[in-house]
């Protein structure tokens, strides 16, 4: 051996050893925990302030409300063991379970609900969710500072809580399954002040163990949960912004469950090893191309219909979108619709071309706004090509998300691409916010659609206590909306989740509040 090469060799050996020492053979997993991925750190865990799905998913494991959603989207007892609704649909009486405790050991009483709900409405809380309770009697007076309490929230006894509405409102009970209707302990809220959002405390099956913003969030199982114990010791959420990184972590077994990103869908689907671990469920959402109905050219329903005729949505869904959804015929997802749509708008480019020619609009120019997301931009180009064939020239404008949202809320674009996700499983959630003239702009009706008949049908549906009647009104409203076509209805996206082989009992839930982390189980032993 050449004498001079010795230092080089020793350097190499040292390097190899260092690499070996550094290499990640051991994992940092906690025993019995199931690992999920979050795209972004939740902004707050205070149920009064939550307005995003990521935070709401976590809050569902920390808190409870009076009622919750179960299995087939039916409303089930949560802290209320039973309830009754008066014949006129105005008085809701809830009978609370005894022995439900906050983590500090105090029992939940009816007055805690009154406190929690009034806290949401209190202007000092600045909750974006006051609309959840706006049908309750006395809310207006409370919001305007004319009353010290909400008259409609009544504490009848320690275990009986009553809510009185101004007018009958059929979706109210399902709205009580939402995040802002969770109960919080007054003493903890007052102790932490604004920091309650990072020190949440509720009656749920888990408590917050550790929260390293932008890194990791750990929930630990409670052993005194009133509805049995979770089958995992805890839940860990790792915050990973990049899809590809998350998929790599999953493939290495560092994450147990991930929502399958579109970019990885076909790879896992066509992989025999993985395809059986993919779980899917049709989502409660509707993806649409919105047409600004408040001004020319799309204030003309016939022209709007022509746009729907011109685009082969089924083909786009099956090819470009790889079949990851169900074709939409109207705004209401099939899971919630109890009636049939007799007159769906079908692909008919000849008819579309004829309408546009007859109106003398061939060669017309419109602006389509999209958020700067690769998948959305690709889709916009496909739509652009379809519309060019019938004589509509689309100019695509990409905007960064918050600028996009502002422009859409203000009604700047002629066309825009957006989706709507259910807050509560009721057809009303896909009609009132989106098509009632009271909600134009940021309220949800971003296409600025005004039809007095639709308004009145939606309202009648909201007020009917009788379910059959209610469905009748909703059906009529939806039929008119389909005929008027302020949206081009695209699809209801299916949610896909993939799990590790050692995970059992994982399910995909159509509404974020449904997963309380009770069914999932891990067989992985970590040493």
């Amino acid at each position: 051996m050449n004498y001079n090469s010795r230092p080089a060799i020793s350097v190499l050996i040292t390097l190899a050893f260092t690499l070996l020492l550094l290499s990640c053979t051991s994992s940092n997993r906690l025993q019995g925990y199931v690992y999920y991925r979050l795209k972004a750190s939740p902004s707050t865990l205070d149920p009064a302030l939550i307005s995003d799905v990521a935070s709401a998913t976590i809050a569902a494991k920390l808190f409870n409300g009076l009622v919750r959603l179960k299995g087939n989207l039916e409303i089930a007892p949560d802290i209320a063991q039973k309830w009754s609704i008066s014949k006129n649909g105005l008085r809701y009486t809830f009978f609370l379970k005894k022995g439900v405790q906050f983590p500090n050991g105090r029992e939940v009483r009816a007055r805690d609900f009154k406190y929690s709900f009034e806290r949401v409405l209190n202007p000092a809380t600045k909750s974006p969710n006051t609309w959840v309770f706006d049908k309750v009697e006395g809310v207006r007076e409370f919001l305007e500072g004319r009353a010290g309490e909400v008259k409609g929230f009544k504490v009848k006894s320690d275990y009986v809580f009553e809510i009185i509405l101004k007018k009958p409102f059929s979706p109210f009970l399902s709205m009580l399954t939402m995040t802002p209707a969770y109960v919080v302990p007054r003493e903890e809220v007052e102790k932490w002040g604004v920091d309650f959002s990072s020190h949440p405390s509720g009656t749920g099956p888990f408590t917050l163990k550790e929260w390293l913003p932008d890194r990791e969030l750990l929930l630990a199982r409670r052993t005194d949960y009133f509805d049995g114990n979770s089958r995992v010791r805890g839940i860990a959420y790792r915050i990973i912004a990049e899809d590809l990184t998350a998929v790599t972590e999953f493939e290495l077994g560092n994450i147990d469950v991930i929502a399958l990103p579109a970019s990885a869908y076909s790879r896992f689907k066509n992989d025999r090893k993985w395809s059986r671990y993919i779980i899917s469920r049709e989502g409660l959402n509707t993806y649409y191309l919105g047409l600004n109905s408040s001004r020319p050219p799309f204030n003309d329903p016939e022209l709007r219909r022509a746009v729907s005729y011109a685009i082969d949505r089924e083909k786009i869904l099956n090819t470009f979108y790889e079949g990851r959804g169900k074709l939409a015929v109207g705004p209401v997802p099939d899971l919630l619709r109890k009636w049939d749509i007799k007159t769906p708008v079908r692909y008919d480019p000849k008819l579309a071309g004829k309408i546009i020619r007859d109106k003398g609009l061939k060669g017309m120019k419109v602006d389509m706004y999209v958020s700067a997301d690769k998948e959305v931009v690709d889709l916009a180009e496909i739509i652009q090509a379809y519309l060019a064939r019938v004589g509509i020239n689309v100019n695509i404008k990409q905007l960064e998300w918050s600028a996009y949202k502002e422009a859409v809320n203000k009604g700047e674009p002629d066309m825009f691409w957006l989706s709507w996700w259910a807050d509560y499983p009721d057809p009303e959630n896909f009609l009132f916010p989106l098509f009632h003239s009271r909600n134009i702009g940021a309220g949800g009706n971003r296409v600025r659609y005004i039809n007095k008949e639709v308004d009145s049908l939606i309202e009648k549906g909201q007020y009917s206590v009788n379910e059959k009647k209610r469905d009748y009104f909703y059906q009529k409203a939806e039929e008119i909306i389909i005929k008027d076509s302020p949206w081009v209805f695209f699809w209801h996206k299916t949610d896909y989740v993939i799990t590790q082989p050692w995970i059992r009992g994982c399910r995909v839930y159509p509404v974020y509040s449904m997963d309380k982390g009770m069914e999932i189980k891990t067989d992985l032993a970590v040493n």
Binding site: L19, S23, C24, P123, D214, R238, T248, K405, N439
Partner: protein, 327 residues
């Protein structure tokens, strides 16, 4: 030409004055930077409140949150309000998380610093060595080594970071299982992002070193040194490196300064909890206090790193006189 030696620098007092002066200059600079950044933020489309409140908030609530944030007021009064807060050493609270921005930055800055140091640890020796080797082999008959190093450094400069990050992650995490693909923590998590970050820096350094060294090798004093019969090692280390060091230090200073402001893409891909990702999230969400906080801290860091570079110049080359008296 006299090769430096002996006194490294004259007058500790003068240099202290110089540093003090540069630091005082920070004040008007901060004023200008905050004003400019504030103006840009307000000029951009997008409303932070709309992102904050979700889909169905009532107009009254939106208005009252605007009032609470102060975004309903005019530009001047908003800016003055911000300056007042700043003078108290307060960077405000994030619109979204309600967390104190200064606390968050102080938690993330050490991570970014660690990443920056690790990247420099790779890029500085490697870049200088490659540059030197390339320059020395440029004079040889077979220029294979030079061409090889040139190709490597041009590739290093032109490959986008997100691509090299993904490839490196695929190889070292997924296939070889040597390092974790993401996370923040001990040195295991640091290796891959540091290497990715070091690639373009190494390439730049190699190129700058090469051109400088080639120029120096043509200088008469090198010929003199050779004719005096000095060993090649001695010539290279003392005569060449010593004279090439200024442009090299300049590049190192610039790179280091920019790394300390966070490497957005690298930090995002490798889930490294640093300033870059924090700034990016702030920008996406229009979280003004976070963006402003990052800009301010970034400016201070950049100025300080530049100041340190300037002072180092004087240590390395006494011909450089820091402009103390004239200002």
């Amino acid at each position: 030409m006299k090769i430096c030696g002996g006194k490294f620098f004259k007058g500790g007092f003068a240099i202290k004055g110089y540093i003090l002066k540069r630091l005082i200059l920070l004040v008007p600079l901060m004023f200008a930077i905050t004003l400019f950044a504030f103006f840009l933020l307000k000029a951009l489309p997008g409303d932070p409140v709309l992102g904050l409140v979700g889909e169905r908030a009532s107009p009254e609530i939106i208005e009252s949150i605007r009032k609470e944030m102060g975004t309903d007021k005019g530009f001047v009064s908003q800016y003055i309000g911000y300056l007042k807060l700043l003078l108290k050493g307060d960077l405000g609270r994030s619109y979204y998380t309600n967390r104190d921005v200064l606390t968050d930055i102080s938690l993330k800055f050490p991570n970014t610093m660690m990443l920056a140091f690790a990247a420099m640890l790779v890029s500085v020796p490697l870049g200088i060595a490659l540059g030197f080797l390339s320059a020395l082999s440029a004079n040889r008959r077979s220029r294979f080594l030079e061409k090889l190093i040139d190709t490597i450094s041009i590739s290093g400069l032109s490959i986008p970071v997100f691509w090299s990050a993904i490839i490196i992650m695929m190889i070292f995490s997924l296939k070889l299982k040597l390092f974790p693909p993401s996370g923040t923590g001990d040195i295991r998590f640091l290796v891959l992002p540091a290497v990715v970050l070091a690639i373009p820096a190494t390439a730049t350094l190699a190129r700058v070193t090469k051109t400088t060294v080639i120029d120096i090798l043509k200088m008469p004093y090198i010929t003199t040194a050779r004719s005096k019969g000095l060993s090649l090692t001695r010539i290279n280390l003392i005569h060449v490196l010593r004279n090439a060091i200024i442009p090299i230090v300049t590049i190192i200073g610039l790179d280091f300064g920019s790394y300390l402001n966070g490497a957005v893409v690298t930090e995002t891909i490798f889930g490294w909890d640093g300033l870059g990702r924090f700034t990016m999230e702030g920008i996406i969400k229009r979280d003004y206090p976070v963006i402003m906080g990052c800009i301010i801290v970034g400016t201070v860091v950049f100025v300080i790193v530049n100041l340190i570079t300037d002072v180092i110049y004087q240590y390395l080359d006494p011909r450089i006189r820091l402009n103390v008296k004239k200002g």
